[in-house]
């Protein structure tokens, strides 16, 4: 049987048409198994060898030259991207860049500097008290206390500063946000409305034609103090319901129609 295996290997590895050795031929004459194997292989190889060779078309050379020319032109035109193909490495790189880009964009969007609320870490959440610009009337001029002090000096100290209403602790609310941060807000709309009695108004008019009443309701001002040190103030003007007139004793009118002040 070992001999048969060797014989079959010799038959298998022989070149097509090559004569086998005498000892192999002798074995084939006496071994039916090896003879059948030899016959099968011989016929099969004959069959496969019967395949006729195929010729290239007549214009094969020209087409190769044409391809080479287009390749050379292409290589000159775009040598940088000559070997660029849209394969797996390219797609993987593009996906990676996309993921990084999206991640950065999301981080930027969620960063505190871009939020529209005053968000501070921990329990140190504070709301910056808005600087209240109180209009002061000097004759026909309107000067704010945030404005130039020159106007104040020009008036020779005759400017009547209204009595600031006593500041009351304004109600504040604290809400929890995502990421363990807290939002603190303060409601200014519930601040006390100054009351000017008619007698006081008339008396002040008699001594001086100018009187000032704090606008009520005051403009809603919301100061946002970002953790990055940037602050922003949002001012919502108060509603105006038209002009108000104060009738004095001699019938003269004091009129004011400034927004929020009268």
């Amino acid at each position: 049987m070992v001999n048969c295996k060797n014989i079959c290997r010799e038959i298998e590895e022989a070149n097509y048409g090559e004569a086998l050795t005498a000892s192999t031929m002798e074995h084939l004459a006496g071994c039916g198994h090896c003879h059948r194997f030899y016959d099968d292989r011989r016929k099969l190889r004959q069959l496969v060898a019967s395949l006729e060779p195929v010729s290239a078309p007549a214009d094969f050379d020209m087409r190769v030259r044409s391809r080479l020319a287009s390749y050379q032109n292409g290589a000159r035109a775009g040598s940088l991207f000559a070997n660029f193909t849209l394969g797996w490495p390219t797609l993987a790189l593009a996906s990676l860049v996309l993921v990084i880009g999206v991640t950065l964009a999301l981080k930027l969007l969620n960063s505190p500097a871009n939020s529209n609320v005053a968000v501070q870490d921990g329990s140190k959440s504070t709301v910056q008290t808005p600087k209240q610009e109180v209009p002061i009337y000097v004759g026909n001029e309107v000067v704010t206390n945030a404005g130039s002090r020159a106007g104040e000096q020009e008036a020779g100290g005759s400017i009547q500063r209204p009595k600031q209403p006593k500041k009351r602790s304004q109600p504040s609310s604290v809400a929890s946000l995502r990421n363990g941060r807290r939002l603190a807000t303060q409601e200014f709309s519930s601040s006390a409305t100054p009351v000017v009695k008619k007698e006081e108004a008339i008396a002040s008019i008699e001594s001086s034609p100018v009187f000032q009443i704090e606008a009520s309701p005051q403009p809603l001002r919301l100061s946002l103090d970002y953790s990055s040190g940037v602050s922003r103030t949002i001012s919502v003007p108060s509603l105006s319901f038209g002009s108000e007139r104060v009738l004095t004793g001699n019938g003269s009118l004091v009129k004011s129609s400034s927004k929020g002040s009268w």
Binding site: E12, E13, N15, Y16, D40, R41, K43, L44, R45, L47, V48, A49, S50, L51, E52, P53, V54, S55, A56, P57, A58, D59, F60, D61, M62, R63, V64, R65, R67, L68, Y71
Partner: protein, 213 residues
């Protein structure tokens, strides 16, 4: 106006062509000349191997137009990689390796393009290699020439259904007549593997061609 007897004359000057052929320059020398920019030397290489390569790829892919296209691509690849060629092996080994890689790549592309594979129904479930279904038409034909043609067609079809790892060595051995050593170098594998694969390929083919044996 000068008339052309063959389209080949369009590509290469007749005098130069004959001079090159008469010189019977070795493939290595032609490739060396190509490397130095001699396009006529490359043209001679093309003319020497175009039929062999086209025929080999055709046996691998069973598609003539595709085979011609891939054969041209083989020469373009050869030209592009001419600087990287090492003359330690025969030039034919080198060009057949390029052609084999292109043909196998094409076969894999085709396999991916198939929407529905019927071969799954005929896969062996015991771990053995399996062949694609390709029932042979066993109806006899009367005319002798027709019988021979039909037989060759059946052989070609049977070969084209072999798994690619068996197909290439079988064609190189039984159709192209290459030695085991050269096949091993073309396929970049060992001689033992080549012998084993050729033996398996013949077994497959024998099963498919039983009606013709």
């Amino acid at each position: 106006m000068e008339t052309l007897s063959s389209i080949d004359e369009l590509s290469f000057p007749v005098a130069l062509r004959q001079e090159v052929i008469a010189d019977s320059t070795s493939d290595h020398a032609l490739l060396e000349a190509t490397r130095k920019g001699d396009e006529d030397a490359f043209a001679e290489l093309v003319s020497r191997y175009r039929n062999q390569i086209t025929s080999y790829i055709y046996r691998m892919t069973n598609d003539y137009d595709g085979a011609v296209d891939l054969a041209q691509e083989t020469f373009v690849r050869l030209y592009r990689a001419v600087d990287r060629y090492q003359s330690s092996y025969a030039f034919s080994t080198y060009i057949y390796r390029i052609a084999t890689n292109l043909a196998i790549s094409e076969l894999r592309k085709r396999k991916r393009r198939r929407l529905v594979s019927l071969t799954g129904f005929f896969q062996a479930h015991d771990g053995r290699e399996s062949c694609e279904l390709d029932p042979v038409d066993e109806r006899p034909l009367q005319d002798t020439e027709l019988v021979a043609t039909e037989r060759r067609t059946a052989v070609q079809r049977a070969i084209s259904t072999l798994p690619e790892k068996y197909r290439a060595p079988l064609i190189l051995r039984d159709v192209e007549g290459r030695s085991y050593e050269e096949i091993a170098r073309i396929l970049q594998t060992s001689e033992g593997t080549v012998k084993s694969r050729i033996s398996r390929a013949r077994d497959f083919l024998r099963e498919k061609m039983r009606a013709y044996l």
